[in-house]
Subunit: 422 residues, 2 copies
C-alpha cells in the first residue's frame, strides 16, 4: 500500500461538475489500495473574485486580513471535494492549512513553510479516511495568524505534506499532460518529457516554464520526493521529476527543453564611473528595495571615458520600484542615465547533458542567428544557456532552438484540456 499525495489546481475544480470528476479520480486511487492525501486550490476564479472584493473595500488591505480573506477560497473547494467523495461512499475529511499542521513564518502573502506537523492528517489516514487539505495556506508560528504562501503555494503545500508524511509520490494535476520540451502554444510539435531531474526542472521553472513553481521543485529535491506532473483530464502518464542518479536506466537527453519568459524587463545604468564599489552600491540599493535580479551584464569600460554600462533583468512588475530606487542614488553614484525596456523576452535552453557536450552553446547561438534574431544579453549555468531577445522575436527563437536540437515530435502530443487559468 502506497501513500499518494495528489494536488489539484483551480482549473481542475472550476465548478461542481469538475469537483465530482476529481472526486472519482481520488476514489479510484483509494480503491487501488493507496492512502490518499489531496491538496486542493481555490475553484477557478475564486481568488481573483476575492481580491476584487478586497480592492472595492480598501486600496491597500493589510496582509493579515487579505490572507484571511483569500483562504476562504480553498475552504470552499476542499469542503465541496470532501462532500463529493462522501457521495461516492468513501469517507473524506477536509483540513485547513492550520489544521493540517502547515506552520509558516509571518510573511503574509508570501509565507515560507518552516515546519509541517500533520498529526491530524495521519489520524485521518489511520481511520481509513481520505484527507483533503487546503493548498496555499498555513498558520504562522509566532502570531498564530493565517498566512498564504504566495505563488506556487498549493504545489509547495503538496510537496511539503508529501515530505512530512514520507509519501511515495506527489502527483501534481494540471490541465496538460506533463512538462513539454517547449510551450505547445508556440511549438505545436513539442514533446512530452517522460522524466527530468530536479535540477533541470528547477532551471525550467526559473526560466519561465509555468507548469511548476521553482520553490515547489526545490522543496521536492531537498526531501527527495518524486513528483508526477500529469493531467486531471486524462489517464496518461505525465512527467516524472526525480533525482537523476536514481534513474540511471533512463535515457538521458542532452537537452531537456526550451523555456521562455516574457515577464522580465531590462534596465541599463548608463555611464557608471569605473571605480571599485560602484556596482556593489547599485546592487545593494536594489536588494534593499526587495528586488530580485536575474541576469546581470557589465560592459568593458571604455578607456577614454573611464565609464561603463551595467545592464540587468528583473521582473517587469518590479521595474518602477527599481528605477525609483536608482534615481535616488544618481548623484551619489554619478551615473549618467537609466534605460528601461520591458519589451524583452528570455529564451533558455536546459539540459544536464550540456555539461559533457561542449558544442551546445555554439549550436544554440547559430540557430537563433539563422532565425534572424538579435541576442541582447547572455547568461549561462552548468546546465542552462539563456539569451535575452526582443519580445517580438521570442516565438522565432524558441522554434529555431527547438528544431536545432531535434526536439520536435513526429506528431502533435500536447493537448490543453482545461480552459481558464490555473
Amino acid at each position: 500500500m502506497a501513500l499518494v499525495v495528489q494536488k489539484y489546481g483551480g482549473s481542475s475544480v472550476a465548478d461542481a461538475e469538475c469537483v465530482k470528476r476529481v472526486a472519482q479520480r481520488i476514489v479510484a486511487t483509494k480503491k487501488a489500495g493507496n492512502d490518499v492525501v489531496v491538496v486542493v486550490s481555490a475553484m477557478g476564479d475564486t481568488t481573483d473574485e476575492l481580491i476584487d472584493l478586497a480592492e472595492q473595500v480598501s486600496p491597500l488591505p493589510p496582509g493579515r486580513e487579505l490572507d484571511m480573506l483569500l483562504t476562504a477560497g480553498e475552504r470552499i473547494s476542499m469542503a465541496l471535494l470532501a462532500m463529493a467523495i462522501a457521495n461516492l461512499g468513501h469517507e473524506a475529511r477536509s483540513f485547513t492549512g492550520s489544521q493540517a499542521g502547515v506552520i509558516t513564518d509571518d510573511s503574509h502573502g508570501k509565507a515560507r513553510i518552516i515546519d509541517v506537523t500533520p498529526g491530524r492528517i495521519r489520524s485521518a489516514l489511520d481511520d481509513g479516511s481520505i484527507a483533503i487539505v487546503a493548498g496555499f495556506q498555513g498558520v504562522s508560528q509566532n502570531s498564530k495568524d493565517i498566512t498564504t504562501l504566495g505563488r506556487g503555494g498549493s504545489d509547495t503545500t503538496a510537496v511539503a505534506l508529501a515530505a512530512a508524511l514520507d509519501a511515495d509520490v506527489c502527483e501534481i494535476y494540471t490541465d496538460v499532460d506533463g512538462v513539454f520540451t517547449a510551450d505547445p502554444r508556440i511549438v505545436p510539435t513539442a514533446r512530452r518529457i517522460p522524466s527530468i531531474s530536479y535540477e533541470e526542472m528547477m532551471e525550467m521553472a526559473a526560466c519561465g516554464a509555468k507548469i511548476l513553481h521553482l520553490r515547489c521543485v526545490e522543496y521536492a529535491r531537498r526531501y527527495n520526493i518524486p513528483i508526477h506532473v500529469r493531467s486531471s483530464f486524462s489517464q496518461r502518464t505525465g512527467t516524472w521529476i526525480a533525482d537523476s542518479t536514481e534513474g540511471s536506466e533512463m535515457e538521458q537527453a542532452i537537452i531537456s527543453g526550451v523555456a521562455h519568459d516574457r515577464s522580465e524587463a531590462k534596465v541599463t545604468v548608463v555611464g557608471v564611473p569605473d571605480k571599485v564599489g560602484e556596482a556593489a552600491t547599485i546592487f545593494s540599493v536594489l536588494s534593499d528595495a526587495g528586488i530580485n535580479l536575474d541576469m546581470i551584464v557589465q560592459n568593458v569600460s571604455a578607456a577614454a571615458t573611464g565609464r561603463t554600462d551595467i545592464s540587468f533583468t528583473l521582473p517587469a512588475t518590479d521595474g518602477q520600484t527599481a528605477l525609483t530606487a536608482l534615481n535616488k542614488v544618481k548623484e551619489r553614484i554619478g551615473f549618467e542615465s537609466l534605460q528601461y525596456d520591458d519589451r524583452i523576452g528570455k529564451i533558455s535552453l536546459i539540459g544536464a547533458g550540456m555539461r559533457s557536450h561542449p558544442g551546445v552553446t555554439a549550436k544554440f547561438f547559430s540557430a537563433i542567428a539563422e532565425a534572424g534574431v538579435n541576442i541582447e544579453m547572455i547568461s549561462t549555468s552548468e546546465i542552462r544557456i539563456s539569451v535575452v531577445v526582443s519580445q517580438d522575436d521570442v516565438e522565432a527563437a524558441v522554434t529555431a532552438a527547438h528544431r536545432a536540437f531535434e526536439l520536435d515530435a513526429d506528431q502533435v502530443e500536447a493537448v490543453v484540456y482545461g480552459g481558464t487559468g490555473r
Copy 2:
C-alpha cells in the same frame, strides 16, 4: 471606557459599500472611547449560494463538511470589514470562531456553545485594536472540528462573547429600528418598544417575532447582558432588552406586543383510545424523532366511544417526519387517523403586565371574535396568550388585537431600511 459588542447581520454587510458604511459606524464607536468587538454574519446571500454549491455536489453532504463550507462566508465578510476599518486608519483584527475561543459541542449545523475563551480577543483589545469575530461558528471541544451554531447563531455568538468579556452592552444591528409592537408589514402603525424584559422578549421570539432568536435572548438573560437592538441604517435608539427588575423606573406597559407565526402546522391524532399512557406513547415517538412540539390540546373523551382526539402544533418543516413516525405506531396505539393542516397561523399577545391584569384574556378573545376570526387552539403562559387561527385570518387577528390594546402609534414609526434577508 465601555466595552461594546456589536453584531451586524448579512443585510448590513451585503456588499462593499455596506461594509464601508458599517466600518464607519464601528470606528465612530471606537473614537467615542469604547473598546469594540464586532460579530459579523456572512454577506447578503453568501450562505445560500454556498448551500446551493453543496447541493450541486452532493444531495446529503456530511455535516462536518457543510460546516467547513459555510464558515467560509463569515471569513470573507470579517476580513473585508477589518480591511475597511484599516482603511479608515484604525487597527482591526479578524478572528474565526475557533480563534475567538467559541467552543461548542459536536452537533454540526446546530452546535451549542459550551465555553468561550476569548484570550486572543482580549489581547487585541489590550493592543488598542478593534476585534472582528466571525458569527455563527465555533470549534468542537472533542474533535476540534469547525462547527456552525444554526439559526440565530451570529446573535448568540455576540451575546456569548459579551458575557465572556463582561461587556457593558451587546448591540444587535439589523434593518429595522428595534422591536415593534407588531410586524409593521401587517400593522403600519406598530410602535417601537423602547425597553422590554428578557422574559417578554423570549416569548416574543418563541412566538414568531423574527428580530432575535430565542436562544440568544436566553443566553443574555442567563448572563444578564443588556441587548440593544437597533438599525445599522440609522442613528436612532432601538429597543433595550434587559432585566426588568433593573428598570423599575421604566413605564411598564401591560402588553408589550403582538407576535405572529405562519411557520407551524397542526397535526390531529383522531380516535386515540382513552387509556393511561397512550398520550405518553405518542409524544415519546415524536420526541425520539427529534421533533419539538409547541401547543398541545387534548379534547375531552367522548364517553360513548372511549376515544379522544389529540392535536398539537409543530414546525411545518417537521410535518412529514412527524406523520411518518406516527403512522409507524398506528397499530400499536390504535388511533383511527391523522389530520394535517399547515394553513394555520399563531397569534400571541405578550406582556408581563398580564400577570396582574386578569381581563386581558377576555379582551383578546373578544377582539379576535369581533374581527370574525375563528380560534382553533389556545395556549397560555403567565405572560403570554397564544391562539391558532386559519392562516388567512392572521392579518385580521393581529390588527384587531393590536388595536384593542391601544398599541397603535399616532404615526408610522417603523422603517425597513435594508432589502434582502438578514
